[in-house]
Each structure stands twice: as C-alpha cells, then as structure tokens.
C-alpha cells in the first residue's frame, strides 16, 4: 500500500514537472513563432511613425489604425493594399522578400493634402 502510494507520489511529481515545463515552455515557443508586430497610425495627412525597418525573410504583422477618416496603405513591392478604417484596426502579416527602401502611400483619397501622405519602409538584409 505504501509502495503504491510512493509510486503515485512519484508519478504525480513527474506529471507536475511536465505540466510546469510545458507551461513555461509554451510562451517562449509562441514568442519565437509569432511575427513581430509593428503599429502604425494614420491620420490626415501622415503616418506615424513615418519610417519603419523590417528584416528580409522575417514575418511581420503590421497593425494599422486610423485616427480620423478612412485611409489606404499601399505598398506594391510587399503586395500590401489595405484600407484603414477608423472603426477598427487592420492587420496584415507579410514576409518581405526583397531588401530595399520603399515608399508607402495612402491610396484612399482623404483630403486636400492626400497626395503628400506617405511613409518609408526599409527592408534590411
């Protein structure tokens, strides 16, 4: 009976250790797999920040928020063409495949200075 109890204790301890290990290990695994998140806010007639730097081959989630009206987020080299509504954020996940410096524009007419609304996206090797 005691032996059985001892075995039960041992197996319980092992199980607890495994659960703890998994609990500790999972967030790390998730962090390693989840794309980096970059926040960008659009408002007439600018993006904030107006420059971001990404890594070639590294997935990234761009979370876009509008502080006023509907804007566009158009970046042909990264195949991004999104609308940014003031109602809720827009998220787009991409993996840049080409290094370089690119200009993103608002391609949804947003007012008299719409044509000057742009930002820079740098993709590093």
């Amino acid at each position: 009976m005691k032996k059985f109890y001892a075995l039960e204790c041992v197996s319980g301890t092992v199980l607890l250790a495994v659960v703890l290990a998994l609990a500790l290990a999972r967030p790390h695994a998730a962090r390693a797999d989840s794309p980096k998140v970059v926040e960008i806010t659009a408002k007439r007639f600018e993006f904030m920040p107006n420059k971001i730097t990404l890594k070639k081959g590294e997935p990234v989630t761009i979370r876009l928020t509008s502080a006023d009206v509907v804007h566009g987020f158009f970046l042909r080299p990264l195949k991004i063409d999104e609308l940014i509504s003031p109602d809720k954020p827009t998220e787009v996940t991409v993996t840049p495949q080409t290094a370089g410096t690119f200009t993103t524009i608002c391609d949804h007419f947003c007012g008299v200075n719409h044509g000057s609304m742009k930002m820079t996206v740098v993709v590093e090797e």
């Binding site: 042909r76 200009t103 524009i105 391609d107 007419f109 007012g111 008299v112 719409h114 044509g115």
Partner: protein, 294 residues
C-alpha cells in the same frame, strides 16, 4: 454643355487637330507656382492664336485645386470655366482629376461640368472620357467598365479611338500614385481595337509610353511641374524659376489622321512648352511666342 456628334460608326476619318490641356489647378497658390492661373491664361491665348483652329480641346483633369470649403471649390470651378470659355474652339470636353472630384465623389464636378465619363464621335474618331478619380481609390470601377464594354461594342476593331482620362492607365509610378488600380481591366477591354491612343494628365510632365500596341501620352500641366521619376525618388514639385516662370509647362497639339488614310490612327503629337521661343511645327507660333504677355 456636352453634345454628342452622332452615334454612327464607320464614318470616314478626315484629318483634324485638337488640343490637350491638363492640370490647371485653379485656386492653387503656393511657392512651387505663385502665379496662379497665369500659365492657364497663356495657354488659352496660344490656343486662340494657333494658325489652324483646333476642332476641339480635351482637358484631362485637375481643372481646379480642391478646397474643404465647398463654396470656395465651386467658385474655383466657375473661375476655371470662365477662363476655359475664352478659347475660341467649337468644342471643349473635360474629365475630372482627383483634386476636382476626390472630396465629394465628383458631386460638385458633375453639377458644373456634367457627366464625368462619356463618349462622342468626331470625324470618324471615337473619343472616350474616363473617370478614374471619383472613387476613393484610384480606379475606374466595375460600373464604368461595363459601360465602356457596351460603348465599344458597336465599333469595328479598326476604328480610331482616343481615350482621355486623368491618371495613367498603367503602372507608371505606383508609389507616387501614378497608376490606376484597374487600369489593366480598361486596357483589356480596349485590347481588341487596333488604333487606340490614351491621353492623360496627373503627372505634370510630358511622357510617352507604349504598352502593347497602345501609346499612352502624359501631359504637361499648367501649374508647377513634377520631376522625372527615374531621376529622383521624391515626389516634390520642381522649384519655381522666376526667370522662366512657365518652364516645363505646356500644351499638346494632336494631329489626327496625318496622311489622310481612312480608318487609320496616324496620330502626330506636338508639345508646346509655354516658355518656348521657337516652335517649328506650326507656322506663326514663333511670332506669337516672341511677344509674351507675362
């Protein structure tokens, strides 16, 4: 103010000239061009003194500079119309630019200028005005594409066709918004037709591109010019030169059916820079330009 010159197709093509003007931005006032409507008015004067009166003038958008104040914008449109009507030509046709139509989806523009897309026939050439600015995105849209298909269906594939619009219908420089997102769809509709010329504005500089068998011509503006996108990455107006205030600004003379062969589209293009002192292609223009009124 729009009238249509008949609906028949197959009319014999006879030679004639017409003018393309673009991007007057009436109401703009800023360091890149502090002269307001001066270049536009000079262009009107030149058109009126051409030795051969053009049959028509096509204005490819950005007639006005936009204003958040609707009354101010309406006043700018009326001022544009007043200057435009000084041209002694039988017919003037317009399409909007994003500065005319972007703020309200083209509502004010249509109130003053009429429909933003339409077609008409003149001397055997089918003219099509397309609106790629009234949607919030740079696009023509499915409704207009359906109209275009229907409009073209009655024409033989050899009919000369001139499309005039504001933005380029191909990817000239997407990161400067020099493109139309569904431009490929427009060109696919036009693809069966052998003689297609596209005239557009928006880029404030003259440009010629051949895409497939179609020639696309971008026009100089009548207010500040933009630089060559192949030489700079920055879309900024070229600085104002008070010694040559109309430098890089100009008008385009289009000669249709050069040689007079029926059912052809032998188009010849002449660029007239407003500061030019010599222009060999049209007799008398030299004399005209030697007496600038600026």
């Amino acid at each position: 103010m729009f009238h249509f010159l008949g609906k028949q197709s197959g009319e014999k093509v006879t030679p004639f000239n017409f003018i393309q003007l673009s991007d007057a931005h009436v109401g703009f006032n800023g360091p890149p061009d502090p002269l307001g409507t001066k270049a536009f008015e000079r262009a009107v004067e030149i058109v009126n003194k051409l030795p051969q009166r053009p049959d028509l003038v096509l204005f490819t958008g950005d007639l006005t500079h936009d204003s958040e104040d609707k009354d101010v914008h309406a006043q700018r449109m009326k001022q544009f119309m007043e200057i435009s009507r000084r041209m002694n030509v039988p017919m003037i046709k317009y399409v909007p630019g994003e500065h005319d139509a972007g703020l309200d989806g083209g509502g004010l523009y249509r109130d003053i200028f009429g429909e933003s897309y339409y077609s008409f026939d003149h001397r055997g050439v089918h003219f099509i005005g397309l609106d790629n600015v009234s949607q919030p995105k740079p696009e023509v849209g499915t409704k207009q594409l359906d109209w275009l298909k229907k409009d073209l269906s009655r024409f033989h594939k050899s009919t000369p066709i001139v499309v005039f619009t504001h933005r380029p219908l191909f990817d000239l420089r997407p990161d400067w918004e020099w493109f139309t997102s569904d431009g490929d769809n427009v060109m696919n509709v036009l693809a069966p037709y052998d003689n297609v010329t596209v005239l557009y504005g928006h880029i404030h500089r003259d440009d010629e591109h051949e895409v497939g068998h179609v020639h696309h011509y971008g026009a100089r503006s009548l207010i500040f010019a933009f630089p060559d996108p192949e030489k700079t990455g920055d879309k900024k107006p070229m600085p104002f030169d008070k010694e040559q205030p109309f430098k890089n600004l100009g008008i385009r003379v289009v000669h249709e059916n050069v040689g007079g062969k029926p059912q052809t589209n032998t188009v010849a293009i002449e660029e007239v820079e407003l500061t030019a002192r010599e222009f060999s292609g049209i007799n008398g223009i030299q004399q005209l330009l030697k007496t600038p009124n600026f």
